[in-house]
């Protein structure tokens, strides 16, 4: 267990008393720490009707927003989870086309292997279609609004431009869906989400979906954010920095995407010319006697170059570009989460102000204000933690990606050399 949790600038259970009252200090200078209530309003952290978790490892109900931050504290130090420590494995494979009267669609097999107690069986195998993934993502966003949910591959494809049932498209999508589930699996909080559990295990997902709609939402889902147009006083520096970073990041990725596409386009045009170039040597070879062999040789080499180049372009299109796009989507959804965070903070500030103005001597603090403050804290904590792991993962991903690109180019050149 952790002796001291990694210094999360946002709330940790022990540093609350040290936080300055937001209205006491000038609101323009906000250092790392997020907004917290003054000691006056501080109560022994009894939020709503759930018990706080203590950092010494008491099991918690992870669907409560309050407890997620402490759980994260615990797990924060387990930075690189060993493969042996993992107890949940999910894969997406085996795409199949289904033709019905109303529509045609593709399903993917989702296989789960686990030793977790939350699951009844050690193994599951179910069939899911894109709609189901989309549903899962929405549910996760609803139930874990303070977390970053991984992105899904694009929902809509322009018919006529892309063949929805072509092998390449289906394979690209499958890979993206597989990554999506793996990211959730790796997340210490999201992977325990009950919707996720159902997604992995239920034979008939549609029945569950309908059920979920009718039933009153549970604790986690009641945390809906009314965007009442609250204005944010000031954004803590770190989140502003994250916002700026994300903006620049998606900009740069967008540029790289464009460059990569341009390169592929140029490569294909080059290929067209090469395809004409090779045969001319052949024709010439037919004309000559002594030179015919070397000329034919050159022609054959050029042919090989064409093939190698084609493979390179294909690989770039199939492996490199989708990952770029995925991260751009990721950045987008992260920005949305940031916005929500801002909203929550704004709401909290407004309520705080209202209370302060009332100047009532009531010992009891309106629960919604408390909720707000807690939400904010959790938000900040979760975000921060998620960002860090995201950064790590992203770094790994990009490293692999660009190395892969380099590799492909190397392979291309090696092939050309050999000929």
């Amino acid at each position: 267990a952790a002796s001291a949790p990694k210094p999360l600038p946002s709330s940790g259970p022990k540093s609350l008393r040290e936080m300055p009252h937001p209205l006491a200090t000038s609101s323009s200078e906000e250092m790392g720490p997020a907004l917290t209530p003054s000691p006056d309003l501080l109560l022994p952290r009894s939020i709503a009707d759930k018990d706080l978790s203590l950092p010494n490892g008491t099991p918690v109900d992870t669907s409560s927003p309050a407890s997620s931050s402490s759980l994260l504290n615990r797990l924060q130090l387990d930075d690189d989870l060993d493969v042996e420590a993992r107890d949940l494995f999910v894969t997406v494979d085996d795409p199949k086309k289904h033709v019905c009267t109303m529509e045609t669609y593709i399903t993917y097999r989702v296989t789960t292997k686990t030793t977790r107690a939350e699951f009844d069986l050690p193994e599951y195998s179910v069939r899911r279609r894109y709609q189901d993934f989309d549903w899962l993502r929405n549910k996760l966003e609803e139930s874990q609004p303070t977390h970053l949910i991984p992105p899904l591959p694009e929902k809509f494809v322009v018919k006529g431009v892309v063949d929805r049932f072509s092998e390449e498209f289906v394979e690209t999508r499958r890979k993206a869906l597989d990554k999506f589930l793996k990211r959730i699996t790796d997340h210490p909080v999201l992977s325990f989400n009950e919707h996720f559990n159902v997604f992995l295990t239920a034979k008939d997902l549609n029945a569950y979906k309908k059920q979920g709609m009718a039933l009153l939402s549970k604790m986690g889902e009641s945390v809906k954010y009314v965007t009442g147009g609250y204005k944010l006083r000031s954004r803590p520096l770190e989140f502003a920095a994250i916002g700026d970073y994300l903006d620049t990041f998606s900009l740069k990725l967008g540029t790289i995407d464009r460059i990569a596409q341009r390169i592929i386009k140029e490569q294909l045009e080059y290929l067209v010319e090469l395809r004409e170039y090779g045969p001319v040597y052949s024709t010439w070879g037919g004309l000559e006697v002594e030179l015919s062999e070397p000329l034919e040789g050159v022609s054959a080499c050029i042919g090989n170059c064409c093939t190698a180049l084609e493979e390179l372009s294909e690989d770039m299109t199939e492996d490199f570009l989708p990952v770029l796009r995925e991260y751009i989507l990721y950045a987008e959804s992260m920005k949305n989460v940031l916005k929500k965070r801002d909203q929550v903070q704004a709401e909290y500030e407004a309520k705080l102000e209202a209370v302060a103005l009332k100047r009532e001597d009531r010992p009891k603090v309106p629960t919604d204000v408390e909720k707000c403050q807690d939400r904010v804290e959790c938000f900040n904590a979760d975000l921060k933690a998620d960002m860090e792991r995201w950064q790590n993962n992203k770094r790994q991903d990009f490293r692999q990606l660009l190395m892969g690109m380099a590799d492909k180019n190397i392979q291309y050149y090696e092939k050309v050399c050999v000929t």
């Binding site: 620049t248 540029t255 790289i256 190397i410």
Partner: protein, 402 residues
């Protein structure tokens, strides 16, 4: 190996200079002059360095020299000059004759031309050629005094002969066919190569954009920053490398171009043969008809319809004396004609023999040169790929350190 000038004399076209002057029609113009330097080889072996002689020539003088050689030695495949105007350009190359790269490549081409002529067993012995190398002043007059322009066959005559000749030597017909095909295939090749070069240039240059973006991106990253930045640098190197690569390829293109123009020289020899053969056939035909006329006059039979015959029938027969006179004239002409025919025949056979010898020599030269050109092209491609591998390996290393 026959003794040729190239063995005794070191020839270089070492410099090119822009000049202005007045041309033939007295208009001010800018042109480029080339410095030809020669140095005797023999004296070097004695430990002495022979003095370098030099003079300036412009492209039009080279042209004059070549025209002279083509006319004076029609049975020789005369080496071609580098192109007058830039052809087969792709977007980066300039089509401007004054462009320094073009001038540089032309300088090399002119040097190559002189070396080829100097290594040719027959051409190197020509006095005009020697004077071209050694004597700056008065060379033009010297060439014109040879009166070679008069010997030149008219284009029209040659064309006529090509269509009308009945019995050319089969080998020449084949050769002409071959040179046509060669010309077409090489020009096609050069055109496509130019397009290929253009596209390849585009591919490399776009990678340069990576360099910029990686650099900008690295500014906002912490751990990834260094790796991205250095990788970006490698992308820049990659993008820049294409310039040198393509410049080297231009030399390959120039080698091909030389043989493209050589095809024209081959055709010229074939045309000359056709002309001579046609001449021969015409002379033979003329002789035959004269003999026939003679016979008719002598025997009084009209074998073929002739206007003369008709008019004489209408306007009365000629006198026996007139007929005798005519026969006499014809017999003289026939005698002349037979002698001419004999010498033409001899000329023709000599031409065929010596032309074919030079063509064989040319074929060997061509096979050798083109083989080498192809090999060096392949080597160039391999080195280009090796550079590519190097750059991407470096980039990969940078990425792995991210």
């Amino acid at each position: 190996m026959e003794d040729c000038l190239a063995k005794k004399l070191e020839i270089t076209v070492s410099e090119a200079e822009k000049r202005t002057g007045r041309n033939a029609v007295n208009i001010q113009e800018t042109y480029t002059a080339y410095l030809i330097e020669t140095r005797a080889v023999e004296s070097q072996s004695e430990g002495q360095c022979a003095p370098v002689e030099s003079l300036w020539r412009r492209y039009s003088e080279f042209e004059l020299l070549r025209n002279y050689l083509s006319v004076t030695y029609p049975h020789i495949v005369v080496p071609p000059l580098p192109e007058k105007r830039a052809d087969f350009v792709w977007h980066k190359l300039s089509a401007d004759n004054m462009d320094p790269d073009f001038v540089e490549r032309r300088r090399i081409g002119l040097e190559n031309f002189l070396l080829r002529v100097a290594s040719h067993p027959v051409l190197c012995q020509d006095k005009i050629f020697y004077a071209f190398l050694m004597q700056e002043g008065g060379w033009k007059e010297m060439v014109n005094e040879t009166g070679f322009q008069l010997k030149a066959d008219s284009r029209l005559k040659a064309l006529n002969a090509t269509f009308r000749v009945k019995n050319p030597d089969k080998r020449f017909t084949e050769l002409k066919h071959y040179s046509d095909e060669l010309q077409s295939v090489i020009s096609h090749l050069l055109r496509v190569r130019a397009r290929v070069a253009d596209r390849l240039y585009g591919v490399y240059k776009v990678h340069g954009n990576y360099g910029r973006v990686f650099s900008e991106w690295s500014a906002i990253e912490k751990e990834m920053g260094d790796g991205l930045q250095s990788a970006g640098h490698h992308m820049d190197v990659y993008a820049a490398s294409i310039d040198d690569i393509l410049e080297e390829e231009e030399h390959y293109a120039d080698q091909l171009k030389e043989y493209l123009f050589y095809a024209e020289a081959l055709r010229a020899v074939c045309r000359k043969h056709e002309l001579m053969q046609y001449d021969l056939e015409m002379a033979a035909q003329d002789l035959t008809s004269k003999k026939q006329q003679c016979e008719e006059l002598a025997t009084g039979t009209v074998r073929t319809f002739s206007l003369k015959g008709m008019t004489s029938k209408l306007f009365g027969q000629e006198t026996p004396e007139q007929r005798e006179a005519k026969i006499k004239v014809l017999e003289e002409q026939i005698q002349e004609g037979e002698e001419q025919l004999k010498s033409k025949n001899l000329e023709g056979r000599d031409f065929v023999k010596s032309a074919w010898a030079d063509i064989e020599r040319f074929k060997e030269q061509k096979n050798h040169d083109l083989k080498e050109a192809l090999i060096s092209y392949a080597v160039m491609q391999i080195s280009m790929c090796k550079k590519g591998i190097q750059v991407w390996t470096n980039a990969k290393e940078c990425f792995s350190k991210m």
